[in-house]
Amino acid sequence: MLAPVEAKGLSEGLRLYGWMALSRELDEVLCAANPRWFPSAGEEAAMVGAFCDLRPDDAIAAHYRGPLVIYMMRGAEMARLVAQVLGKVGGYNKGRSVPFTGPVDLKIVPWVAGDLGTSLGVATGAALAFQQEGSDRICVCTFGDGTANRGDFHENLNLAASWRLPIVYVCQHNGWAISQPAKDYLPAPVANRAAGYAIPGLEVDGNDVDAVRRTMMGAIARAREGNGPSLIEARTWRAKGHWAADPQDYRAIHPDTPMADPLVRYGDRLIQRGEASATDLDRLRDAARAAVASTLEAVRVLPDTGEAELGLDEVHP
């Protein structure tokens, strides 16, 4: 089934709004259906803005929080992704990996075991492949502000800078790593570290999709022209728990400051610019809600994955 934002004739602004709205709707439904799902509400501008200006032949490695719509932007089927989250047959991963993975043939770096940080390495390798083949393809890799403290962050940024690899690293900084507030593990902005690798390091309002896109454009062009990697820190805010059923008692102990909802901000801007009316926005959200609901309905009745997907003969190619 086509996502509502793939409908013909939408302006660029409305398409972006549509993807963010779809992400929000999908997130809500998945959180209700699977208490272990990782909510991404409030982080849509950072997520969508990082990936919306790539070519289909570029590679992506998306942070585990909120990647499904990013995969759909590249052509992945909502139903197959939802099947992964609900443990139903039909998922791209045949029920064998963490659920937030996407199809490899859409140039997506897959999640397999769910160990944070390793995706920076594989994404860096995608950029290395593009340099080896002499093309102008690039890779964009997003990761959390907690993940930024894995040694892989340092190793890969340093390696990519040394080899001038065509990659953009984007920290989806939502202020939390499970129960830990970022101020306790980040003594300085992540973007500051770029100076140590002599690459551009840019902080951006991660709840402003236009700002994220503008910042990305420069970094994408730089990578495509063979001038090497960049590091972008998109400041956003984790509006919900780490997982859907997270009681978040720690939030009372470490109070934080909410950020304005990126969907509302972008919708208002579209209206201000005269690009859309409130009705247009409502219509898109309704369409997103309907698409998600009917997908969920269809996937819910599928059988659970089980022994048939064990695949003893699929350990080696």
């Binding site: 990996s97 490899v104 397999v112 390495g121 594989v122 995608a126 390696l159 080696h316 190619p317």
Partner: protein
């Protein structure tokens, strides 16, 4: 070792997607001269000097493989594999299976283990990887196999760990065919036929077993030596077939005994046909100490004498 370099050079000439990542693999010609001549022939884009970032090196190799290249990544010594463990255990072996059988990661991880001419970094962690579904793990013991198995590893569409026993780099030389040829990953090889005791030897332990066999022949004890060649997948059929003939089993490798590949070899017999054994089995390996770096080291490692004594004990302990 020249045989390994030769296999890599042939593969790189044949296939532009094959390239090499490692430390000191360029101007220095590689640790222990392990990449001699490659940098001159293929240049710095295909023989890549990497920073001391083993995790990024392996991760980058996996990513490059996922996107159409066929990299070989060298971890100078096996003692540095732990620095890349997340990529080696959580990523490499999982990528194909966990993507529903779609991802292909043709990566060779080449490394060196065991005692060697310089005595540094002797510990052998090969068994850790043989534990993990998704890896193929090889440890050739002869120059011909070193070339043939490196060729097979490069051509494999999945990840292969290629262990070189460092003591073999100065071992007996043998002529190696010049063309590309493959020694399949998996099958073990009978290095010496003998009726009395099967000795399953891994990598650098093969020459020890051959020496022991010579000595024991004078006493009328004939060893059959099985050169294991591949740690995963294990050639259970070849092990069992040999032990069915000799009815006695000794395993020998440079890695530690406990939880080692020798235990897996023994299991492949006792699970299938315990009745064929007429004597207790003996496993030989490194002593249960961290392998010492100094002059204590030889006392911690297996030698031909251990095999000779084990064979005598096995013969003496044979049930009537």
């Amino acid at each position: 070792m020249e045989a390994v370099i030769e296999a890599i050079a042939v593969a790189m000439r044949e296939d532009p997607r094959v390239f090499y990542i490692g430390q000191d693999v360029g101007a220095m010609q590689g640790s222990m001269q392990g990449t001699k001549g490659l940098w001159e022939e293929f240049g710095p884009m295909r023989i890549r000097e990497a920073p001391i970032s083993e995790s990024a090196m392996v991760g980058a190799a996996l990513g490059a493989a996922l996107f159409g290249q066929r990299p070989i990544v060298e971890i100078s010594f096996g003692e540095f594999l732990p620095a890349a463990m997340n990529q080696l255990i959580n990523q490499a072996p999982n990528l194909h299976y966990m993507t529903g059988g779609t991802a292909r990661v043709p990566v060779v991880v080449r490394t060196r283990v065991g005692d060697g001419p310089y005595g540094g970094h002797p510990q052998d962690y090969s068994a850790w990887f043989a534990h993990v579904p998704g890896w193929k793990v090889v440890m050739p013991a002869t120059p011909v196999d070193a070339k043939g198995m490196m060729t097979a590893a490069i051509r494999d569409d999945g990840p292969v760990l290629f262990f070189e026993g460092m003591s073999l780099s100065h071992a007996a030389r043998a002529p190696v065919p010049l063309d590309a040829f493959e020694t399949p990953i998996g099958p073990a090889r009978i290095a010496r036929e003998g009726r009395d005791v099967t000795v399953v030897a891994v990598g650098s332990s093969l020459p020890l077993a051959v020496r022991a066999a010579g000595e024991l022949a004078a006493e009328g004890i004939e060893l059959e030596i099985l050169d294991l060649r591949t740690l995963r997948p294990l050639d259970r059929d070849a092990i069992l077939a040999s032990v069915r003939r000799t009815r006695r089993l000794i395993t020998v490798h440079e890695a530690w005994v406990a939880g080692g590949i020798g235990a897996e070899v023994v299991a492949s017999v006792v699970e299938e046909a315990p009745e064929v054994l007429v004597a207790p089995v003996i496993r030989i390996g490194a002593a249960a100490v961290p392998v010492p770096s100094g002059k204590v080291r030889p006392h911690a490692l297996p030698n031909a004498r251990h095999i000779v004594e084990a064979a005598r004990r096995v013969m003496a302990g044979t049930r009537a």
